[in-house]
């Protein structure tokens, strides 16, 4: 192993990288953009407001009071519809997904229940809705809970079950805090996998490796310098992701020694997979296609963008055989929950996997011709 040779390779790789604008974009800017886009989308998740229309057919003080009660709920933005209008046609014409109709005898029924204690006095609030809308069921569920609360209050008895919330996290975390470790794991995976495929398949196909094999550089020098380069790129992209996350979204993440451990293991695991793919797929194009075929399931099924628990049972089982799952879990355990035991367990699993595929990758990487 020659440090001078490894250094020379590293310089060439870095110069090739920053002179290739698309590589810079996909390695550095793309994950940052992902953080910005998803962070912005989910930053307002807690302050989401649902808008809908209300048609008050009763036009009385008490029906106006009900509208005011709904308006007091911070989640609703209400617009009134004139009582003379056909509400169903109005919703259809204006492509509205929900119009809430307060019936004509609302005040009379309410007085009957409150003053005369008449159990038969009741009203039906009608939801005119578009079932094809994705958000309408959420609106209706929230409205149902508001009406249930009004009904309960009218009974004059205190509620029997009252929920209380206790977070298992020491601090108040948001979705973006869960998202950032996943993006770090995914970015390192992508750069390492495609970096290994490009270096080994493309340069081999072009004949650069053949030329290198007539120089004193050894296969070990070559592979180690590429791993070092991928690690350097991974560190730079991790730092840029964290800087943007802290600066723009003020994330609450714990930065400890587990972060570099998982980044290194992520690099070794996916450089190893990349080297094996390059040996199996003869052409650079088919190696890149194989890398894509590995990357996409890994990206979407290992809990990078959304929790694994949201997936059906068989997919959850499948996700547990994906190496990126353990990088995601390990990074979240260390950066969010500060759970060293889970981080250790994940690091051992991904560490063993990385060692096996990297050694296999080294053994299968072809340096001389047949």
């Amino acid at each position: 192993m020659s440090l001078r040779v490894i250094g020379a390779n590293l310089i060439v790789s870095i110069k090739s990288f920053y002179r290739e604008k698309t590589a810079v974009f996909f390695t550095l800017a793309f994950p940052v953009l992902l953080i910005l886009v998803f962070g912005t989308i989910f930053m307002n998740q807690d302050n989401v407001r649902f808008d809908f229309r209300v048609q008050d057919l009763d036009q009385t003080d008490l029906s106006a009071e009900l509208v005011k009660t709904l308006e007091l709920n911070e989640k609703f933005t209400i617009t009134m519809v004139a009582p003379a209008i056909d509400a169903a046609q109005y919703a259809k014409n204006n492509k509205l997904n929900l119009v809430v109709v307060i019936p004509k005898d609302y005040e009379r029924s309410l007085i009957g229940r409150m003053t005369h204690n008449d159990p038969n006095a009741s009203v039906t609030i009608t939801y005119i809705y578009d079932p094809s809308s994705t958000s309408v069921s959420t609106k209706m569920q929230i409205l149902n809970s508001v009406f249930a609360e009004i009904n309960q209050r009218m009974s004059g008895k205190p509620p029997f079950i009252t929920p209380a919330e206790i977070s298992i996290l020491s601090r108040d975390y948001r979705f973006i805090d869960f998202f950032v470790p996943g993006i770090i794991a995914m970015t390192v995976m992508t750069a390492s996998l495609f970096g290994a495929v490009n270096v080994n398949a493309e340069l081999r196909q072009k004949g650069v490796i053949k030329k290198l094999s007539t120089t004193p550089i050894t296969r070990t020098d070559w592979i180690l310098s590429n791993v070092l380069y991928q690690f350097l790129l991974s560190v730079i992209s991790t730092i840029s992701i964290l800087l943007v996350s802290y600066a723009v979204f003020d994330v609450s993440l714990q930065l400890n020694s587990w972060l570099p451990v998982f980044v290194v293991l992520d690099v070794f695991a996916f450089v190893g997979i990349g080297m094996i793919l390059t040996r199996v797929a003869k052409e650079a194009e088919s190696a890149a296609a194989a890398a894509n075929a590995i990357m996409f399931p890994m990206m979407f099924l290992s809990g990078t963008f959304f929790p694994v628990e949201m997936m059906p049972g068989f997919l959850q089982k499948f996700s547990r055989i994906l190496p990126l799952y353990y990088v995601n879990e390990g990074l979240r355990a260390s950066m969010i929950f500060v759970d060293n035991m889970i981080a250790l367990r994940c690091s051992v699993i991904i560490g063993v996997f990385a060692a096996v595929v990297f050694v296999l990758g080294m053994m299968t990487t072809k340096w001389e011709e047949g």
């Binding site: 020659s2 020379a8 310089i11 090739s16 072009k206 007539t214 120089t215 004193p216």
Partner: protein
């Protein structure tokens, strides 16, 4: 490490003995033997698929032989790769390098791989005539410039033997001549050069010894002049821009003329006096032509005679 030639006191730097290389059922190199002397330019001349590159790559330690022995600078190529690669320079067939790295940076990179601290980067740039392009990235270079850079890189470690595998294939005539100028510079410096080519002019211009290879076997070997003298005892008369009647007149005289294009014909002549005989016959018949050329056969024609196949497509008709 200081890179300089560690010359050995041996006459021959390459010894190839009964070398055979098979790829499955394909016999790429068939039991060939030859030696290359120190300081000579040795050319392997043959068409595509003849086994030139396979032989060169076995000597360069890139490939392993199926059988036979190959020694380079006194070392067995299958056992002493690490020592050999430090003492040779290689321009592989279809040379490419890192797209975004400049000419100067590429030479510096390869110099570092050889751990050379005294590589004359400017001298190599000058030798390859790349001074004006030293800051150009590899991807922006033309084919000829890339090959010249490849030759410069093959010299970063001041090698004792330089391997040039088809250095001018795919280049236009001007770029080819520019590469030849660089190679003539190497020849003047007394470098031992192992050259593979399918260009007859290249072998004739540069080589001290030519080995003609066909279908994996060496069919003839010697200096270009000796090969021509011993294999082609005739002259080639070319008549340019001939009148329509020239062809039948020459044919009637018992010669076998051939059209090289619609205006020119070539005739193979066994005796020098035949030139005068043909010219007199044309004069008597009033048949005209613009110019004539009488020359000895070249290596391409020698190759055709020895193997029955042309070096390149379309050549058979030209020299028939």
């Amino acid at each position: 490490m200081t890179c300089r030639a560690m010359t050995e006191d041996t006459e021959h730097v390459i010894h190839v003995e009964r070398l055979t290389k098979r790829y499955g059922d394909l016999l790429a190199v068939n039991d060939i033997s030859f030696t290359v002397r120190k300081g000579e330019v040795f050319a392997f001349l043959g068409p595509n698929g003849a086994g030139k590159t396979t032989t060169a790559e076995i000597i360069e330690t890139i490939r392993t032989p199926t059988s036979g022995t190959v020694s380079l600078l006194g070392m067995d190529v299958t056992k002493q790769k690490r020592n050999i690669v430090r003492r040779i320079g290689v321009l592989p067939q279809g040379f490419t390098s890192f797209d975004r790295i400049t000419v100067r940076e590429t030479i510096q990179y390869y110099s570092r791989l050889f751990n050379c601290r005294n590589t004359d980067v400017d001298g190599l740039i000058e030798l390859a005539n790349l001074r004006d392009r030293s800051k150009e990235q590899f991807t922006n270079l033309s084919g000829g410039l890339k090959q010249r850079l490849g030759i410069a890189i093959a010299l970063v470690n001041n090698p004792e033997v330089v391997f040039l595998d088809e250095p001018t294939t795919g280049l236009d005539p001007r770029a080819r001549r520019e590469v030849w100028d660089v190679l003539l510079g190497l020849k003047r410096k007394g470098k031992t050069v192992f050259l593979t080519t399918h260009y007859m002019e290249e072998a004739e211009l540069l080589a001290d010894t030519v080995a003609i290879i066909s279908k994996g076997s060496i069919v003839a070997m010697g200096s270009p002049m000796a090969l021509i003298e011993s294999n082609a005892h005739y002259l080639v008369l070319t008549l340019q821009s001939v009148h329509n009647t020239v062809f039948p007149i020459v044919q009637k005289m018992g010669f076998e003329p051939a059209h090289t294009n619609h205006k020119n014909i070539t005739v193979r002549l066994e005796h020098q006096d035949d030139v005068r005989t043909i010219l007199n016959a044309l004069k008597d018949a009033g048949a005209s032509f613009l110019s004539l050329d009488v020359r000895k056969p070249n290596l391409e024609e020698v190759f055709l005679k020895l193997t029955g196949a042309p070096l390149r497509e379309g050549l058979a008709e030209e020299v028939a």
